[in-house]
């Protein structure tokens, strides 16, 4: 297996991109990544996208995007694993280059979610849950994560305020990210008093509906010397794991097994310990998700994630800065693009280009991207060379 590095990243401002289509959004981010890398071609590409069929009525994205990017007839593959389609796209590109099949590969992610009504968005997203055992019985993702929040509160005494602290921190970080969909700051009161979505989760506990894309260029590490625009970032760990898709099949609602296993695999491949990680982007689709993920990754003891965010341990400058980009909560969550955008943030931090939200001296970063209510997880560890 060859070493693999990231030599280019691209992303546009996320939001309600009414004037742009799915292909416009993807192509813009991809061209930025290609330009950032300074490459004159790519050998292959992977596109993470969860629901273009339901969101905009378009499938067959591999050919479509290769064509519109002007790179046909390269091999192009659409990858789907619910909300971690982006993470899986990145891992697929990593495996492709590492195997020696291709030298320069683009990993992208895209979603265009605002062309349908809120009800249709909810339906499309719920296809990532278990249709027969969860969705047919009326469950939605806010409902499923609300169950996880209730269980965590009951078992560990996690408080309503601690959930809100996640949103406050992530919006604070997002306010320093020019590409974030909602780059405003918020307060504990605003979060707790927002419209109730699924008790105890209010609107401000939920990540938004977003249009957006992100792309990165992967390259065989021994070819990096040809592309010296930026410090090269090496992919030192990649972990992928699954869990039951339905919540009722799990032993414990307050823990994410796929996240723990993917993290252990990635750390093992990297030969690193958790204490070596300088910052981590996690999948905060709901505030409770960030708390459970930080525990399942092992940064905090089970049940202590709420206290950790409340005491500032996950802020920039804290013990382990979590979601310096603003996370899904403030940056936005175009589901298929989220995993790639986490890599974009990690590379930005490792290059030292994160401006006001820069983690000082960051050398090693982690990204955790999750599908559904934890039915699948991708964890990647990057290190600046």
């Amino acid at each position: 297996m060859r070493d693999v590095a990231i030599i280019g990243i691209g992303m546009n401002k996320w939001g309600e991109l009414w004037e742009k289509s799915l292909r416009d959004i993807f192509t813009e981010a991809a061209l930025k990544a290609i330009d950032d890398a300074g490459v004159d071609h790519i050998d292959a590409m992977y596109i993470g996208c969860m629901g273009s069929g339901l969101f905009v009525g378009q499938e067959h994205l591999g050919s479509l995007m290769a064509d519109y990017l002007g790179y046909g007839p390269i091999p192009a593959t659409r990858v789907e694993s619910a909300c971690c389609s982006g993470g899986l796209s990145f891992r697929s590109a990593f495996i492709d280059v590492a195997s020696g099949i291709n030298d320069i590969v683009l990993a992208g992610g895209v979603e265009k979610m605002t062309d349908v009504s809120g009800d249709n968005d909810t339906y499309a997203l719920a296809t990532a849950a278990d249709q027969e055992y969860e969705v047919y019985n009326g469950a939605t993702f806010p409902g499923l994560y609300a169950l996880m929040a209730r269980a965590h509160m009951q078992k560990y005494g996690t408080t309503r305020k601690q959930l809100a602290e996640v949103a406050v921190k992530n919006h604070d970080n997002g306010s320093k990210n020019p590409l974030a969909q909602f780059p405003f700051k918020t307060t504990i009161d605003e979060v707790t008093n927002a419209v109730m979505v699924a008790d105890p989760l209010t609107l401000m506990d939920c990540s938004p509906i977003t249009d957006g894309a992100a792309a990165v260029i992967l390259c065989a590490a021994d070819l990096v010397k040809n592309f010296k625009r930026h410090p090269a970032i090496k992919i030192i760990g990649s972990g992928h794991a699954t869990d039951t898709i339905a919540l009722q099949s799990r032993d414990d609602l307050t823990y994410l097994k796929s996240t723990e296993i993917a993290s252990q695999k990635a750390l093992k491949m990297a030969g690193k310990k958790l204490s070596d990680i300088n910052f981590c982007e996690v999948h905060d689709c709901f505030t409770i998700a960030e708390i459970i993920v930080t525990e399942s990754l092992g940064f905090f003891e089970r049940g202590k994630g709420g206290c950790a965010v409340e005491s500032g341990k996950t802020r920039i400058g804290g013990q382990i800065p979590i979601n310096t980009s603003g996370g899904l909560k403030s940056k936005g969550h175009p589901v298929g693009a989220t995993g790639i955008a986490q890599i974009y943030e990690a590379v930005t931090q490792l290059r030292g280009d994160a401006g006001e939200r820069q983690v000082k001296g960051a050398k090693i970063g982690m990204a955790q991207n999750m599908g559904g209510s934890g039915g699948s997880t991708l964890v990647h560890i990057l290190e600046v060379i």
Partner: protein
């Protein structure tokens, strides 16, 4: 100079509060009130519709204009709730006002800007010399699907303007229109309630056209927000017009007299025209007023008016708009409201 000789409003006496609607749908009333900046809305009685409200508003306008209905040469009504799909509302209104038979007449439809388009055409007819006086009306008994966000705002009301070239209370200095094909809200034939594009109705629709029209007409006139005493925007909820006004550089005090939605609801084609009537009720001679309507589909009409001395003579001839808004109110429960609005379907 063409302008408004007489103006009049009409708002039904019935009201329903946001809490009463939210109770039925298990919805979050404080959240809706905060989000929409709206507390209650007007409801038409079972014997009221766009035609009856147009007649009431027109009578007030004729009183202030000081002319007889017989002298009206054109009747134009803008509404998206004309009682008949085929057969004009205007003929009945013109008949009731005594304007027939020597009278031009047509109904207008352009979602919520149909009323201001009717006003524009009335002005054009007078300016071209085809008729001496014309009536431009905006009226609606708005529809909102049960349980939809629109049900909290869709209300009823009318405003009428007698347009002429003499004895003006407000001279029209300039008109302007800003329009694109933007499908943010619609109701197809045979559908009972309109549909909307959710958040698409905001930035790319309401705000794009409201800003485009307001900035366009001010540029054309060489004027800035501080040159106006008052400004009236279309008001689908309380939040949008205030946000649009403040972003354009107007102050709250310039917006508030015509900002009625928080206690009136969205009267669709009547919204900015009724806001203009309540503003004229307090305006002083010489003051400039900017009106910017908005209709889904989508477009905005802009008007710049200069208030004349005659306003002081006519404003108290008919009931002020705030009287209709704040006095003599009767609150309905949801059941009575559902009956009044025809939401309870029976066999024929």
């Amino acid at each position: 100079m063409v302008g408004i000789m007489g103006y009049g409003a009409y708002i039904p006496r019935y009201r329903i509060k946001v809490e009463e609607i939210a109770k039925v749908w298990g919805a979050d009333a404080p959240g809706y009130k905060r989000g929409l900046q709206l507390w209650e809305k007007s409801v038409p009685g079972p014997d009221q519709d766009t035609i009856t409200m147009s007649v009431e508003a027109s009578k007030n306008a004729l009183k202030r204009a000081g002319i007889n209905g017989k002298e009206i040469g054109a009747v134009y009504i803008g509404s998206e709730s004309h009682p008949y799909a085929v057969k004009p509302s205007g003929t009945t209104v013109a008949e009731a006002l005594g304007a027939t038979p020597e009278c031009r007449c047509a109904d207008f439809e352009f979602a919520c800007k149909a009323g201001t388009e009717a006003m524009s055409c009335a002005m054009a007819q007078v300016a071209s010399g085809v008729v001496k006086y014309a009536l431009g009306i905006g009226a609606d008994t708005s529809q909102g699907a049960p349980g939809d966000a629109l049900e909290y705002s869709a209300s009823a009301g009318a405003a009428a303007f007698v347009v002429g070239a003499e004895n003006l209370v407000a001279a029209c200095d300039l008109t302007y229109s800003f329009m694109t094909d933007t499908p943010d809200f619609w109701r197809r034939e045979h559908e009972f309630y309109p549909q909307h594009g959710g958040r698409f109705t905001g930035e790319p629709a309401y705000f794009k056209h409201t800003f485009g029209c307001a900035q366009g007409i001010m540029k054309k006139a060489g004027m800035k927000p501080s040159d106006f005493a008052y400004v009236i925007f279309h008001q689908p909820n309380g939040k949008f017009p205030m946000r649009a006004g403040l972003k354009l550089g107007f102050k709250k005090e310039q917006i508030e007299p015509g900002w009625l939605t928080p206690r009136l609801g969205n009267t669709y084609s009547g919204a900015s025209p009724i806001g203009l009537t309540s503003t004229l009720d307090i305006a002083k001679p010489g003051q400039k007023i900017l009106v910017v309507s908005y209709g889904s589909g989508a477009g905005s009409d802009g008007f710049i008016f200069t208030v004349t001395k005659r306003i002081d003579e006519v404003r108290d001839i008919a009931k002020h708009t705030v009287w209709y808004l704040d006095e003599n109110k009767t609150y309905l429960d949801y059941g009575t409201y559902a009956k009044f609005r025809g939401k309870i379907r029976k066999n024929d």
